[in-house]
C-alpha cells in the first residue's frame, strides 16, 4: 500500500500544514464518533432543503450529529475509494446504483443484514443493482428511468396518433410522417459516456439483446443508424448529453425525445403540450429501460456500533414516510410500491412512469456486477462508431464484444 504516513509526516515537519487541524473529516478511531458524515450526489440541495432536514432528523433519532456533504456524482466513486483507502469513508453514503457493485467488490460497503437495513419493501427489480452473490447492499432511495416524450402538436400536424406507436415499425412509420410534415423526428443522447449506453439500453434490450453477447442486439443499433441516415434524428445526437437532447426537444420542433423522469418539471415549462409513452420493444410491448437513481448504503467502519447506528440512519432515510419528500424533490419514482400509489394519486401523470419503473431493469443486474462497466464502455464506443459511419453496426458490436473479455 502507499506509505501515506511518511509524506504526511514530512509535510507536517515542513510546517506547511501543522496549524490546519480542522475537523472536517472523521479521523480513523475505534470509538464511535459523535458526528456522522453523510455523502450524497445532490449538490443542488442546499442546507435549507427538505432533504438535508430529513438527514438531520434521522441523525437526531439515532442520537448523533450529522455533517452532510454533497459531491458531484461523476467523481463520487473515486472519492469514496480514496477515502476508504485512508479509512475515512463516510458513515452513510448515497451513491448511484450501478456503482454499488463496484464498491462491494472493493470491500467498501456493509451488507444490509450486518447493519440492520432491510430492502424487503422495495420492488425486486430495483434492488437487483445492489445485490451481489445473494447479499443486498443498501436500499434504493427511489428510481427513475427512460421513456419517450412526445410533442402533441407536432404529432397532430403530421397525422400521427401516439397510441399507434406500439413497436418499432409503427414508430418508424410515425417518424416518416413527421418528417414528411416538415418537422424533426426524434432526439436522444448517444454520447461517448455512460449516458450514451444508458439511452441505448431500452432499444438494445427491446431487440432481445443480451449484455453478455453484444451482437445479439444489433437490430437496435441498425435502428438508430437508420434514423440518422433517413434524417429522422439529428446528427448532433452523437455528442448530445441527455440535457442537450432535451433542449432540442424543448424547441418544439421535434416529435419525440427519449428522456428521463427528471425532465417532468422542465416539460411543464416547455410551453407546449406533451405526452409520454414507454419505449416500445422491437415487436411490441414495453422495452425494459435501465433504472437510474441512488442507493443509501453503509460503508465499512472501524467498529460495529458505528455501523449499526449508520444502519439506523440509512433505514430512516429510506423509510416510506420520509422517502416521499426526497423522491418528490428529485422527481424520482419511489422504490416502494405503496408510496408509488401515493405518488400517482397526488399526480396522475406519474402513472406512466410508475409503469416504466416496474418494467425497468438494473444495469448491473443479471449478476453482471462489476462486469457491467467493462461491457458498457465498449458498447458506447460501438454505438458511436456505427452512428458516425466508421463501422457497420454489426461489425462495431462484434469488435466491442471482442474488447470486453
Amino acid at each position: 500500500m502507499f506509505p501515506a504516513p511518511v509524506p504526511a509526516r514530512l509535510l507536517a515537519a515542513l510546517g506547511l500544514v501543522v496549524s490546519v487541524a480542522a475537523c472536517s473529516s472523521t479521523p480513523a478511531t475505534t470509538a464511535t464518533p459523535d458526528t456522522f458524515s453523510v455523502w450524497d450526489p445532490y449538490p443542488q440541495f442546499t442546507a435549507e432543503s427538505e432533504w438535508v432536514k430529513t438527514i438531520e432528523k434521522c441523525g437526531t433519532e439515532a442520537g448523533v450529529k450529522i455533517q452532510r456533504q454533497a459531491y458531484d456524482t461523476t467523481d463520487l466513486t473515486s472519492k469514496v475509494l480514496l477515502a476508504a483507502q485512508q479509512r475515512t469513508a463516510p458513515q452513510v453514503l448515497v451513491v448511484d446504483n450501478p456503482v454499488v457493485s463496484t464498491l462491494v467488490e472493493a470491500g467498501v460497503l456493509k451488507a444490509n443484514s450486518d447493519v440492520g437495513l432491510d430492502a424487503a419493501q422495495v420492488s425486486p427489480n430495483l434492488v437487483a443493482a445492489g445485490t451481489v452473490e445473494g447479499q443486498t447492499y443498501g436500499v434504493p432511495i427511489g428510481a427513475n428511468t427512460l421513456a419517450l416524450y412526445y410533442n402533441k402538436a407536432v404529432l397532430a400536424a403530421a397525422g400521427v396518433d401516439p397510441a399507434s406507436v406500439k413497436d418499432w415499425d409503427s414508430l418508424n412509420a410515425a417518424l416518416a410522417k413527421v418528417k414528411a410534415a416538415g418537422k424533426k423526428g426524434i432526439t436522444f443522447s448517444a454520447i461517448g459516456t455512460e449516458e450514451g449506453t444508458f439511452q441505448f439500453l431500452p432499444w438494445f434490450w427491446g431487440a432481445g439483446g443480451k449484455l453478455t453477447d453484444l451482437p445479439s442486439g444489433k437490430a437496435a443499433l441498425e435502428l438508430w443508424k437508420s434514423w440518422l441516415d433517413n434524417g429522422y434524428a439529428p446528427n448532433s445526437v452523437v455528442n448530445n448529453t441527455q440535457t442537450t437532447s432535451w433542449q432540442e426537444f424543448a424547441t418544439g420542433e421535434y416529435a419525440f425525445a427519449e428522456n428521463g423522469t427528471w425532465q417532468l418539471g422542465n416539460a411543464k415549462k416547455a410551453g407546449f403540450e406533451y405526452g409520454v409513452i414507454p419505449v416500445p420493444g422491437r415487436t411490441g410491448g414495453t422495452a425494459p429501460a435501465p433504472t437510474g437513481g441512488e442507493f443509501v448504503t453503509v460503508p465499512v467502519q472501524d467498529n460495529k456500533d458505528t455501523e449499526a447506528k449508520a444502519g439506523r440512519i440509512a433505514s430512516c432515510l429510506t423509510a416510506p414516510d420520509k422517502v416521499l419528500a426526497a423522491d418528490t424533490a428529485l422527481t424520482y419514482i419511489s422504490a416502494v410500491p405503496s408510496v408509488q400509489q401515493q405518488q400517482v394519486s397526488a399526480q396522475a401523470d406519474l402513472a406512466v412512469w410508475v409503469e416504466a419503473v416496474k418494467n425497468a431493469k438494473g444495469r448491473t443486474g443479471d449478476n453482471l456486477g462489476t462486469k457491467y462497466p467493462k461491457i458498457s464502455q465498449p458498447l458506447w464506443g460501438a454505438v458511436q462508431a456505427a452512428l458516425t459511419g466508421a463501422k457497420a453496426p454489426e461489425a462495431a458490436l462484434r469488435d466491442a464484444q471482442a474488447a470486453v473479455k
Binding site: 500500500m1 502507499f2 509524506p7 514530512l10 509535510l11 515542513l14 506547511l16 461523476t74 467523481d75 466513486t77 473515486s78 475509494l81 476508504a84 483507502q85 450501478p98 456503482v99 463496484t102 464498491l103 467488490e105 472493493a106 470491500g107 467498501v108 454520447i191 461517448g192 459516456t193 455512460e194 439529428p234 446528427n235 448532433s236 445526437v237 452523437v238 455528442n239 442537450t244 432540442e248 424547441t251 462489476t370 457491467y372 462497466p373 467493462k374 458498457s376 464502455q377 464506443g381 458511436q384 462508431a385 452512428l387 458516425t388 466508421a390
Partner: protein, 292 residues
C-alpha cells in the same frame, strides 16, 4: 561562502515546498503504474508489483496510437497558432494607440472564464444543428459541417477552441518581451532604411528569441496537459477521434464506473516523460545559444 549559504537559505522554502507538494503525487503515480490494482486492492492494499505490464498494455492498445498522434497534432497546431496570433497581437498593441491598454486588457477576458464555461460556449457555437458557425456557413452558401460529431472534424474543433483559450497567455508574455527591447534598437534600424518587416525579421524577432523559447516551452507543457476543453466539448469522441493522452488517462481512471488506476497512471507518466524530453531539449538548445 556566506553568499552561497544565503543563496541556499533563500531557496529552502521553495525546495521544501517542491518536496512536500510535488514529490508525493508523483511518487503515487509511479507506484500506481507499476502495480496491478483492482478496486479491492486499491482500498485494502496488497496490489502485486507487475513491473511494466501496465505500460505494455497501454502501448499495445490501439487507442495509444490514435491518442499519441492526436496529442502531437493538437499540441503542435495549437502552439503554432497561439504563438503567431499572440505575437501578431503583441506587435500590434506594442505600437501604442488610444485605448490600446484597455483593449489589451480585454484580450485577457477569455482567461477569466472557467474552462467549463468557455468550452461549453464553443461547443454551443459549433453545434451541428443549432450552432452559429453552421448558420453562418449557410448564409455564405456552404453546407453544414459536423464539427463535433464527425470523426474528421472533432480534433479540429477542439484545437480551435484551445487556440482561442491560449492566445491571452502568449500575448501577455510576448508583449512584456517586446517592451523590454530598447526603443533605440528599432530607431537605429529605421535610420538604416529598413522596412517594418525587415526590422521585425532581422532585429525584433531575434531579440525576442529567449522570450519566445520560454513562451513556447511553457505553452507546450500546458497544452500537453489540456484535458478539460476536450472532455467538455467531445469527451474525446466521437469514437476516440479527439482522444489525447491526457483525456485517455482521465477516461481510464475516472470516465468509467470501474476505475483502472494502473493503466491510467501509466498514460499519465508517458505524458510527463514527453514533457521532460521537451524540457531537456530546451535546455540543450539554450546552452548551445549561450556558447554561440
Amino acid at each position: 561562502m556566506r553568499a552561497r549559504l544565503a543563496g541556499w537559505a533563500f531557496l529552502v522554502p521553495l525546495v521544501a515546498y517542491l518536496v512536500g507538494c510535488y514529490a508525493y503525487p508523483l511518487f503515487t503515480n509511479v507506484d500506481l503504474s507499476i502495480r496491478g490494482y483492482t478496486v479491492r486492492s486499491f482500498v485494502h492494499g496488497g496490489a502485486p508489483l507487475v513491473g511494466f505490464a501496465n505500460y505494455a498494455g497501454v502501448f499495445g492498445d490501439p487507442t495509444f496510437r490514435t491518442a499519441l498522434v492526436n496529442t502531437v497534432l493538437f499540441t503542435l497546431v495549437s502552439l503554432f497558432f497561439q504563438y503567431t496570433i499572440g505575437l501578431a497581437a503583441a506587435l500590434f498593441f506594442a505600437r501604442g494607440f488610444r485605448l490600446s491598454a484597455t483593449l489589451r486588457a480585454l484580450f485577457l477576458v477569455p482567461w477569466l472564464l472557467p474552462l467549463i464555461v468557455s468550452a461549453s460556449t464553443w461547443a454551443w457555437l459549433l453545434n451541428s444543428e443549432s450552432g452559429l458557425v453552421n448558420a453562418a456557413l449557410k448564409v455564405v452558401g456552404l453546407g453544414p459541417v459536423n464539427w463535433l460529431t464527425s470523426p474528421d472534424w472533432s480534433l479540429v474543433s477542439v484545437t480551435i477552441a484551445n487556440i482561442w483559450i491560449g492566445i491571452p497567455f502568449n500575448l501577455v508574455v510576448l508583449y512584456s518581451g517586446l517592451q523590454n527591447i530598447p526603443r533605440e534598437v528599432h530607431e537605429a534600424s529605421a535610420l538604416d532604411g529598413a522596412s517594418g518587416w525587415q526590422t521585425f525579421w532581422h532585429v525584433t524577432f531575434p531579440l525576442l528569441r529567449p522570450v519566445s523559447a520560454i513562451t513556447l516551452l511553457l505553452g507546450l507543457v500546458y497544452t500537453l496537459k489540456v484535458f478539460d476543453v476536450i472532455w467538455i466539448m467531445t469527451k474525446g469522441g466521437p469514437s476516440g477521434s479527439s482522444t489525447t493522452l491526457a483525456t485517455w488517462s482521465y477516461e481510464l481512471g475516472f470516465g468509467n464506473m470501474l476505475p483502472r488506476f494502473g493503466p491510467s497512471a501509466a498514460v499519465g507518466n508517458v505524458l510527463i516523460l514527453i514533457a521532460v524530453v521537451a524540457g531537456l531539449l530546451y535546455i540543450r538548445l539554450q546552452r548551445r545559444q549561450e556558447l554561440a
